[in-house]
């Protein structure tokens, strides 16, 4: 297994800096992960962490135009937010590493938060809300599914926010407080990966970031989700052409060994063209046109979700009965040696493919450091390889209980008509 060597230092202000040298490239990636995600939001101000991600590009005290400075340096950049964290990444020729570090340090410390920037980005985010959710067929499915599976925990709302109004309600005071609480060095992980020797990279990071004062991040204080004790279901009618079903089960947090077992269960179910759900329910029995299972991989206990669109003339009853039978089979019968080997091979080769891309490596190091130790990246394959067929059975029995399930039936409205 290809290893991802790195060096790590922690600055006095709490910033964790990781450096990974790749002598084969003349590019460098600067990846900054902040442990601030949708789960850190107040229930009346959802969508905030993501809105804030937008504001991070609004300019800082010494760099009024983040993007144009980076573009001048021949770089590309972007960011994303999810329920657990926000990640910023820049890729540029290694000669201009200092520029990326300077930019990231300046906006970590002295972001220019102003009414104008806030007003415009609110508008942009509302359009994003429409483009990716409100105006997409089935676009609100995860709003509904999350709200059903989680009744207390902040995972009950999606990263984009519960409703656009929450985004529109954000005030300058709210934004400034969020910045102070979550965008400080102790709450961040900086990774420098590429054609720069580690010593030099850590040195440069020290130069640009050690002057940033320490901050204070509030303790995690959101409600944990109590155990679900009975099945939940919901029907929702909307302007879509086909019925769809979404089924969510509670599962363990990302760092637990149980996570790996659940993840492998979804691989058995739908990883690749020989997987069970595709072959049996899409190809052979043609109950669904699409059907797949995946895990949300969250820091707090997440979800295992199966979702699919039903073929016309197939009832929810028939589709769900077939799905239930497949999940039941994982409980009653151990997977064969051949099938276990197959999914493990796919996981292993997946790691090999993932390590090729420099940006992937940079992000992965930050991500695993967030989980506890960047060295965990190279230990990942082993955590999968130790899973046995009986482990999978036991995990299936634990996860695929009816009392643990939330089912959303998404109904095609009879008012739907073609555009022709």
């Amino acid at each position: 297994m290809q290893s991802t060597p790195f060096q790590r230092t922690v600055l006095r202000n709490g910033l964790t800096v990781i450096s990974h040298f790749d002598p084969h490239t003349s590019m460098v990636v600067v990846n900054t992960l902040y442990k601030a995600g949708a789960r850190n939001e107040a229930p009346k101000l959802t969508g905030f962490a993501h809105l804030f991600e937008h504001l991070m590009f609004g300019g800082s005290l010494n760099a009024p135009h983040f993007d144009s400075v980076l573009q001048q340096a021949g770089g590309n950049n972007n960011a994303f937010t999810n329920n657990d964290f926000t990640n910023y990444y820049n890729s540029l020729p290694v000669d201009n590493l200092a520029t990326a570090l300077w930019l990231e340090a300046d906006r970590m410390w002295q972001l220019d938060i102003n009414e104008r920037s806030l007003s415009v980005q609110k508008s942009v985010v509302v359009e994003e809300f429409k483009e990716n959710y409100l105006n997409q067929p089935y676009g609100n499915a995860w709003h509904l599914l999350r709200g059903m599976a989680y009744q207390h925990h902040p995972y009950r709302w999606p990263t984009i926010g519960l409703v656009p109004q929450h985004v529109e309600n954000a005030s300058l005071e709210d934004v400034t407080a969020f910045y102070r609480h979550y965008y400080n060095p102790g709450n961040a992980i900086l990774v420098i990966a590429g054609g720069i020797p580690s010593e030099e990279a850590l040195d440069m990071a020290n130069r640009y970031f050690s002057g940033i004062p320490e901050g204070k991040t509030p303790k995690d204080n959101w409600p944990q989700e109590p155990q679900q004790t009975s099945p939940r279901e919901m029907e929702h009618l909307n302007q879509v052409p086909l019925n769809a079903v979404y089924r969510a089960y509670h599962m363990d947090a990302r760092t637990s060994q149980a996570y790996y077992e659940a993840d492998l269960l979804t691989d058995v179910l739908s990883s690749g063209p020989s997987s069970r759900l595709y072959n049996r329910l899409v190809k052979q029995r043609q109950l669904f046109t699409t059907l797949y299972a995946h895990v949300t991989a969250n820091l707090d206990p997440g979800l295992l979700v199966v979702q699919g669109r039903l073929n016309p003339e197939v009832t929810f009853e028939a589709a769900e009965a077939a799905l239930d039978a497949e999940l039941e089979l994982l409980i009653t019968s151990p997977v064969s040696q051949m099938e276990l080997e197959k999914v493990l091979n796919k996981v292993e080769s997946g790691f090999a493919y993932n390590t090729v891309n420099l940006m992937n490596r940079a992000f992965s190091l930050a991500y695993f450091e967030m989980l506890g130790d960047a060295a965990g990246l190279d230990q990942e394959p082993e955590r999968f390889l130790r899973v046995s067929a009986s482990d999978l059975q036991q995990r299936a029995a634990e996860v695929f209980r009816k009392e643990n399930s939330s089912t959303l039936r998404y109904l095609a409205s009879s008012k739907y008509h073609s555009t022709e």
């Binding site: 001048q72 105006n135 073929n311």
Partner: protein, 420 residues
């Protein structure tokens, strides 16, 4: 406070040296030296929409090619791929069908055998054809609820004409008319075990080529190039067309026209001009319509050349009540490029950005082969790359303004909107 670090202009990107070989009439290009032990095959056939005798033939041939051969069923192939942690995807576009295969280095011999079988003896089983049609039809129903899908479809029909291979998008009737015979015919005329090009990249070397020549001898044969119809575009009529999608929460806007192709002296200049207008995050359109006005989550422009025709278009989805204002701003930006030369500073930034971008695109054999493959399969050679770099480095504001005057007149374009 820390000063902004000095910025080095990105170095001149260079195409790496590609090893060229051949088997029969098929050239083989290779880029090795990837430390990770995996590789990628690209087999490219002149079998895209341009070559069709029936609508949808290219698409469905590509999707059915690996769903069964003379010796193996679709399930056999799927199982082998998943078990080896390998994958094959086959896509059709305007001009080509491209088969892309990934595998670990130790599976190259097995993959080589499988590729010869897929390219040489596909069986297009009837049940697989029926299933693919059914699934694709359902997907179309969902797509027809998306403003972005309908707008792009209407744009291409406006620019090239609905009966031109570049201008049409499959309708339900086209899909329903596909039979096994359609695919067999398309395959026999345009694929028949003879790729037009083969590209190898990753952990490969001369031994890989020798192995392939050995394994493919007699299978990758010599076939006379099939003469395909020369399709003429319909005369283009600029003007506005609106399509109603009830309940749409955004309006999709596409503004476009026919343009020159790769080998035209104006092409690379237009690529640079396009970047300034709407080809990156700091573009005129993004800065105005997203960052200043907040009308949209994203607006961009594209200059693209197929093998036989070129196209230019602007693309965005905006809040419904911003549609008119957006149109006004787009016109304003096009007019501005025609009436005012681009400033030196902005041009310098775009030069650096594009060069840095290209450096990133050439980072490592896998990415570099993408660039190379694009050049070769579009009918160009490495001089095309040199011309692009030269243009980026040396094009003047006056030259850009001339191109804007020639090609970017708002009233010369088709203006497509899809909204409530």
């Amino acid at each position: 406070m820390m000063q902004a670090p000095p910025i080095s202009a990105p170095g001149v990107p260079n195409l790496p040296n590609v090893t060229i070989s051949s088997i029969g009439n098929t050239p083989i290009y290779m880029l090795g030296n990837l430390p990770q032990k995996l590789m990628r095959f690209d087999l490219v056939f002149d079998a895209g929409k341009w070559a069709e005798q029936q609508r949808g033939a290219a698409y469905f041939t590509s999707k059915l090619l690996k769903e069964g051969t003379a010796y193996q069923s679709a399930e056999d192939i799927a199982l082998w791929l998943d078990h080896q942690g390998a994958s094959i995807t086959i896509d059709a576009d305007a001009d080509h069908i491209t088969l892309t295969a990934w595998c670990l280095a130790r599976h190259i011999p097995g993959m080589a055998d499988l590729l010869a079988e897929i390219a040489g003896q596909p069986s297009f089983p009837n049940e697989e054809v029926t299933l693919k049609k059914k699934v694709r039809l359902q997907t179309l129903k969902v797509d027809e609820q998306k403003v972005e899908f309908l707008a792009t479809k209407d744009l291409m029909a406006s620019v090239f004409g609905n009966s031109h291979p570049y201008g049409y998008r499959m309708e339900a009737a086209d899909m329903e008319a596909i039979t096994q015979a359609t695919l067999v015919s398309h395959y026999k005329n345009h694929i028949h075990s003879v790729p037009s090009w083969v590209f190898l990249s990753g952990h490969v070397d001369d031994n890989t080529i020798s192995l392939l020549k050995e394994k493919w001898a007699g299978t990758m044969g010599v076939r006379e190039k099939t003469i395909t119809t020369l399709h003429k575009v319909e005369p283009f009529t600029p003007g506005a067309r609106h399509r109603v999608l009830e309940g749409a929460q955004q309006t999709a806007i596409r503004i476009g026209r026919q343009l020159v192709t790769h080998n035209h002296p104006d092409y690379y200049g237009m690529k640079v001009l396009n970047t300034i207008l709407g080809g990156y995050f700091g573009s005129r359109l993004m800065r105005n319509i997203r960052e200043e006005k907040g009308y949209t989550y994203g607006i961009y422009s594209v200059v693209h050349s197929y093998q036989h025709e070129g196209v230019f278009y602007i693309s965005t989805e905006v809040g419904n009540n911003y549609a008119e204002a957006t149109m006004k701003e787009i016109r304003f930006e096009l007019d501005k490029l025609q009436s005012e030369p681009v400033g030196a500073e902005e041009l310098a930034l775009v030069r650096n950005y594009l060069l840095g971008n290209m450096l990133g695109s050439l980072d490592g054999p896998l990415k570099a082969m993408d660039v190379y493959r694009n050049l070769i399969t579009s009918g160009r050679d490495t001089t095309g790359f040199d011309r692009y770099i030269q243009t980026v480095k040396t094009i003047t504001p006056a030259e850009l303004q001339l191109l804007a005057v020639r090609y970017l007149t708002f009233d010369d374009m088709a203006v497509i909107t899809v909204g409530p």
